[in-house]
Amino acid sequence: MIHFRPVFFIIGILLATLAVAMVLPALVDGAAGNPDWSVFAASAALSLFIGVSLIIGNWAPHFQIEVREVFLLTTLAWLIAAGAGALPMVFSALHLSFTDAYFEAMSGITTTGSTVIVGLDAAPPGILLWRSLLQLFGGAGFVITAIAVLPYLRVGGMQLFRVESADRSGKTMPRVAEIASGITVIYLALVAIDATALWFAGMDGFEAVCHAMTTLATGGFSTSDQSIGHFHSPAIEGITTVFMLLGGMPFVLYFQLLQGRPQRFFGDSQVRAFLGLYATAVAALVLWQWLGGGETFPQALRDVSFSVASIMTTTGFTTVDYQTWGGFAVVTILFLTVVGACTGSTAGGIKIFRLEILYVTAKAQFRRIVQPHGMFVMHYGGKAIPDPVASSVMGFFFLFALTFATLSLALGAAGLDFLTSLSGVATAMANVGPGLGAVIGPSGNFAGLPDSAKWFLSLGMLLGRLELYGVLVLLWPEFWRG
């Protein structure tokens, strides 16, 4: 039997929190004399009402939460947060359809950054702030989920990141709560530093805050239709590149940095592989652009380092249309889209640690082929990889490919062309943002897609954000039985 009461209770808390957050854009719009403030106030009141009723209606002195409740809770939390986040967009001056609003909110809360809104530069400040806030919350929510929940659920090899000493001491929750709050502080501090730096580099205060929130969340919503390209500023691009990369690395390791142990940070195999892959991709594309594309070296370095960081960290900011760089760049970016960044960050994608595990497993297999009777223990970060971890990582990889194929067939059936459907699914499942092709490419927009395609893509974002298993498990009959 699944206990729904604790699930609804926590969802109530989530809704109430979102309602409080909606007050911020209401205040900003009110101060700017924009009539949208009443929409935000009304949405806040509605969300608060539903949230508080859920809290009161499901309150109990003692809760019992087990694995299945947690699975249900994570999926529902994201679905309902997107629903509540869509409310202000439907009723605001933008007059989005419900499909568009839900897509935009899902893209925000999953820190994807695909947008259906055209004319951001002239949009009221409240809605711009709300989009950034959704990404800020989505990013924080995901980091905490990745540290506290997914390892507990053993999703796709995440058990490797179980908080140490969690199993035996019995003091699991305090330790997890301590880490979660510490990470939230670091996350907010990084946002503040980024905002200050962007402000110094020439953004106005509002733009700086909005962009800082979506940078550290690796979300990628901007206040302009041209994204970061709007500012034409190398300083802003440089700062954003650094903070995108910071947003793509495991947040837990920043503790180590703060405690004066940089070797723990730079010695982490995931960080090293991530930075190594980033450097390789940048070098290859800079050479391609410089020698083959006729750009000057500094210009190529500037464009490539920004775009590759934006794609790999699954942020999705753009400064130039990298599709004009030719076939090699397009194929590279398509593959980098699904790779993603480190586990334990706000980034999406398959993630570096999984690729590392797969690599180690494949290597062990080769050796086993050469020496059929040898014993080979696979290592990751100096520790042996337990068999269940290796096989659930491989299962994740297979499910990713299968979901990818299914969704891109569905998008093709919805009428999209080949490159749009393939890259659209990749960008949604990896929570990146822009796709490839003329429609949803870096200088395009998702507004022109048919409604069915928007729903498929919203599903893809959710599946990708919750590491597939988190959602797919709900489709198994065994989940609901007994």
Partner: protein, 483 residues
Amino acid sequence: MIKLRPIVFAMGILISALAVVMGIPAVVDWLSEYGRDASSFAACAAFTLFIGVSTVLAASGGDEELDIRQTFVLAGFGWFAAAAFSALPFAFSDLGLSPTSAFFEAMAGVTATASTVITGLDSAPPGILLWRALLQWSGGIGMIAMAIVVLPVLQVGGMQLFRLEVAGMGRRALPRVAEILSSVGLIYLVFTTLCATALWAAGMTGFEAVLHAMATVSTGGFSTSDQSIAHFHSGAIETVLIVFMILSSLPFLLYLLAMRGAPGRLFADGQVHWFVGILAGAVAVMTYWLWHHNGAPFLAALRESAFNVVSVVSGTGFTTANYDAWGGAAVAGFLFLMVVGGCGGSASGGIKVFRFQVIYETANAQIKRLIQPSGLFVPQFNDRPIPDTVATAVMGFFFLFAVSFALLALGLSAAGLDPLTSLSGAAAALTNVGPGLGGVIGPSGSYGELPDMAKWLLSLGMLAGRLDLYTVLVLFLPAFWRG
């Protein structure tokens, strides 16, 4: 240290056999009065025979058996040498292909891929056409023999699943192996004869019928016309080919069991069920798409989708329509179908159906374990539990396939191809299907226009795909050559 002499000896035999086969097109060209091509075939055959026999003589003496590492070397280099020597007639015939194009065409032949660089097949001399078909036919039986005897022993990508079946047939392994191989060869020959007869009855000339039968049973896909099967405009021919393409993608070991009085196994096999299910599903969806979305009449839609889907899934690569122009879902669908491939233990390429079964069962058990962490769930294949090592090997294969695909596609795009051509070209080569997607290498295109660099990359892809990746890639491992 790996002893090379037995490997060289076996390769000498392979090359000599190839030279003998090369004599056939020489005779055919001579009979049909293509004197110049006849003499170039004869010269190539003589040269190849000379090299082969001298290799055999130089490396003979001693009859130790091959160990595992020697088998790997032989498999990788044997296929490579076969392609290199088979390329000779292409380079020296009237077609005058460049060495790169000739090697590409020969590699496409022996790996039973259907990608061709030759345009103007309809007016090509019969010798060359026969040579292409013979290459695919020999490549096909070579692949089946490897899939039944060699790959299970090498434990490549989960193929060890099929070792149990061979071992289960008798105690003493080796005499059994020879016996199995000759029976499978006989079945292969019977299928080819039946297919050729049926094609001839359906309206092909005798020569066309034999050539197409060879290209069908090996799931190769070389045709005698630039338009492939569309040239014949015949529903009967397409039906015959559909039947034989399907038959050639099923595990040949099951036919053997059927011959020995256990025909039930053929119908009870899980892999066969999955394969037929995938085919039926894909044909149904594609027919519906053509009928409903593109507005084709129902029967025409069924005919076109049935033929082209079967051709792509089985890895044959014949075409009757330019499915490239069917629209978004169809194009994406064909790309994914390419990757699926036929059954393990046949001549067809791709990831192969049994691997999807193993992975599906494993993932299913994993998800159930997530729901009930303390439950015991054992994934099964054909009613037997799947050993952990097999599951890991299959998943490792899957990952390796994805990485090879990504690297090959990157390499092709760096050689200057557009994204659709690079992605579909990489898939079509690794899965030994043949035609890719897009304007250049699509169903109505040809590989002739590609830059040389791309042709070499694709040749490597075909070889790696044919030998289930591990067999080729293991040769690049330093640890393999050490100790």
